[in-house]
Amino acid sequence: MKVTIKVRGFPDVEAALGGNRFMLEVEGSTFGDVLAEMDRQFGEDNRKALMVQVLLNSKYWVKVDALSTPVQDGNTLSFSNMVAGG
């Protein structure tokens, strides 16, 4: 399946990934399969740094340990680092 990956708020990791938005070709059909492919392509350390807040199709929150969450061809996974001050 082909999955779009979006990354926001991780300047160092985005540099390592070569950008903040790209397509990923994945064998499998789960969130865990996507993470495994990201480990393979970008290294586990870079992928782990993104495991903060994850959104599926800009609509549904994905728990970072819910590896069996189904992901389909054409889906988007957004990894966001939400940070601020007050």
Partner: protein, 625 residues
């Protein structure tokens, strides 16, 4: 509706009457608690013509269904009153354990009216409410007051008090609790001062029943761990537990979001480096000091060893060190923290204070102020000592410049004149906080249209879509947009601003902590928790509608108290000037006045900002309005 008592305590400081009243059940079903309950009470009880310092003004200390539920972020509570700076309704949120004790005392809120003939405190010990003299502690700073009252009543009591700034009715005086949390915006401390009310001392032992305690326990376990683990997993220098809100500096740098030299500059390398992570924690010897139940731990305790700027107390938040440090080109972390410490002990909003100091520094540079006005202080950009000494003059309400700055930047600029109004950065007579509308236009739209507390960033925070990556997909705010295009566009700004304002009202009414969203707390978590506590089985539509309903009442209050479309389209001149360097140089929020009118249409209001009857009906406000 469970999770609430449907009771309020009322103290009339004029007559001395202390009573408990029952609320009709539908009130909290409509207005939830906290900010919403406060807006409802103001709407019912404080008519047009009552000024903030009049005895007829109410000050409402309000909890919500989330107080006491042992969830991270559920220590917050809200204060609502007519604000001395806005002379309109304002909500200010505050945390630590005071709200928990009030809720455990068996009431949802305390409403205070009237004026005592001499300084008093209110003591609430479960069902027993009384007034006691406070003449001996009048004049004490907020930290001393807290210590003395805990010694007098016991460490299991919590204290909400004012320092000398509130006693002297400085326009942006704060209410202080636990020597670590401050209801700064809106000048609530001055309202207490106008009533001769020094402190409210509270202890409670009752637990408010919730609808589904097993479900709530399950949610709390999951959420509390998620918040802790998410923050722990953040990249270096972005962990809020380790660095407090100094994490913001590194993030905002790239977005041009910070106030530099009274909003003139786009770059300040030494300031951004020094007033950020990790230098903050190192310089201030900062250790996390979480609020009750909190697993995030953004607040910190500082112990600074320094001959000139040594202190022990609460470390400054981003807003404080941005407004009192970056905005004055002061890059000395210890000095900025010390200035903030003075403000904390006197009980002063550091945002408004920083804005007034910056105006003074620029006025000195431009010859509007001289050393004669400043009492010999050299108000040169970057002069940390001058910043600290001028803070003392404001805190002590020293006759002359110190006093006038305590009246707010608009008043000071009007008095000294010579064109200095051009760099007085305020809206509706309240100073603008540390998020630059030139970095994201929605920040400016929120400042102009905010009905909860004037130009208050966190009563909304729509700029966080763009500078902090916050998303509210449950309310239709997600990442399926072109952020770079939208940050400087008016096309959808009304929708974004309104959604965040509605969300903010929910948080301020439940009452919960907006920082939880930075570590993975979602609207889904919030709604699930709300339903488990109250048993009401709401969906996202009803949830957002409640936030909008509360905003509608806040807007009606704004209109009642005289805020007009002219006030809401008068944007600070300084913020309409594009910066010459740094991120988004050359950008200014041109067209913001039209954007306000578009916002009114989006909200279902007429061209004066009055909610149309259709909107009143949609919000189920026919009976109230």
């Amino acid at each position: 509706m469970k999770g609430v008592w449907n009771k309020i305590a009322r103290v009339d400081l004029t007559s001395g009457n202390c009573t408990i009243e029952t609320l009709e059940e539908k009130v909290l079903e409509q207005f939830i608690g906290g900010a919403g309950l406060g807006a409802y009470i103001l709407y019912k009880e404080v008519p047009k013509g009552v000024m903030s310092a009049d005895p007829e003004n109410r000050i409402i200390f309000a909890t919500g269904p989330f107080n006491g539920i042992r969830q991270t972020g559920a220590a917050k509570w809200s204060i609502v009153s007519k604000s001395p700076s806005l002379e309109a309704n304002a909500t200010s949120c505050i945390t630590n354990s005071w709200g928990y004790e009030l809720k455990n005392a068996g009431v949802d809120a305390l409403v205070v009216q009237g004026k005592a003939v001499q300084p008093v405190m209110i003591v609430i010990d479960d069902d027993a409410i009384r007034m006691e003299p406070a003449t001996e502690i009048w004049g004490k700073d907020s930290y001393e007051t807290d210590d003395l009252l805990k010694e007098q009543f016991g460490k299991d009591f919590e204290i909400a008090c004012i320092g000398p700034a509130g006693e002297k009715q400085l326009k942006y005086a704060a209410v202080v609790t636990g020597k670590c949390s401050f209801a700064g915006r809106g000048g609530m401390g001055g309202v207490m001062g106008s009533k001769n009310l020094k402190a409210v001392v509270v202890r409670g032992s009752q637990k408010c029943p919730v609808a589904n305690p097993e479900k709530l326990d399950e949610l709390n376990k999951e959420i509390n761990m998620k918040i802790y683990n998410t923050d722990k997993a953040k990249p270096a220098n972005f962990n809020i537990r380790a660095h407090g809100t100094s994490i913001a500096t590194g993030l905002f740098k790239g977005y041009g979001n910070m106030p530099l030299k009274n909003w003139q500059l786009g770059e300040f390398d030494s300031g951004i480096e020094n007033l950020g992570a990790p230098n903050y924690g190192i310089q201030l010897n900062a250790k996390p000091k979480p609020c009750k139940f909190c697993t995030l731990g953004c607040k910190n305790h500082a112990e600074v060893i320094d001959d000139k700027y040594g202190f022990v107390g609460e470390g400054p938040e981003y807003e404080s060190f941005a407004m009192m440090g970056l905005n004055l080109m002061v890059d000395d972390m210890k000095a900025v923290a010390y200035g903030g410490h003075i403000a904390n002990t006197y009980g002063i909003d550091t945002i408004s204070l920083g804005a007034c100091l910056a105006w003074a520094f620029e006025s000195y540079e431009k010859g509007v102020l001289t050393r004669e006005n400043t009492g010999g202080l050299v108000l040169e950009w970057g002069n940390a000592e001058a910043m600290v000494e001028l803070t003392k003059k404001v805190a002590n309400r020293e006759v002359g410049l110190g006093y006038l700055l305590g009246e707010g930047v608009r008043t000071a600029a009007k008095y000294y004149g010579k064109g200095s109004e051009a760099w007085a950065v305020e809206i509706k007579n309240m100073e603008v906080p540390a998020h630059d509308p030139r970095a994201s236009f929605v920040a400016g739209l929120n400042y102009l249209t905010g009905a909860s507390c004037g130009p208050n960033h966190e009563k909304g925070n729509p700029q966080h879509m763009f500078v902090a990556h916050i998303l509210l997909p449950e309310f239709g705010i997600s990442d399926d947009i072109d952020f770079e295009k939208e940050r400087h566009s008016w096309e959808h700004a009304s929708r974004y601003t309104a959604a965040f304002q509605n969300y903010s009202n929910l948080v301020d009414s439940l009452v919960h902590c907006k920082f939880m969203v930075f570590s993975g707390y979602t609207l889904t978590d919030m709604l699930n928790t709300f339903n488990a506590v109250t048993g009401l089985d709401w969906n996202f539509e009803t949830f957002e509608k409640a936030g909008e309903r509360i905003f509608t009442v806040q807007k009606l209050l704004n209109l009642r108290y005289g805020i007009t479309v002219a006030d809401e389209t008068k944007f600070p001149e300084r913020l309409m000037q594009a910066k010459a360097e740094g991120p988004y140089a050359g950008v200014a929020p041109v067209g913001i006045e039209d954007a306000v009118l578009d916002y009114y249409r989006h909200r279902g209001w007429d061209e004066t900002g009055m909610p149309l009857q259709e909107k009143i009906n949609e919000m189920d406000l026919q009976e109230l309005v």
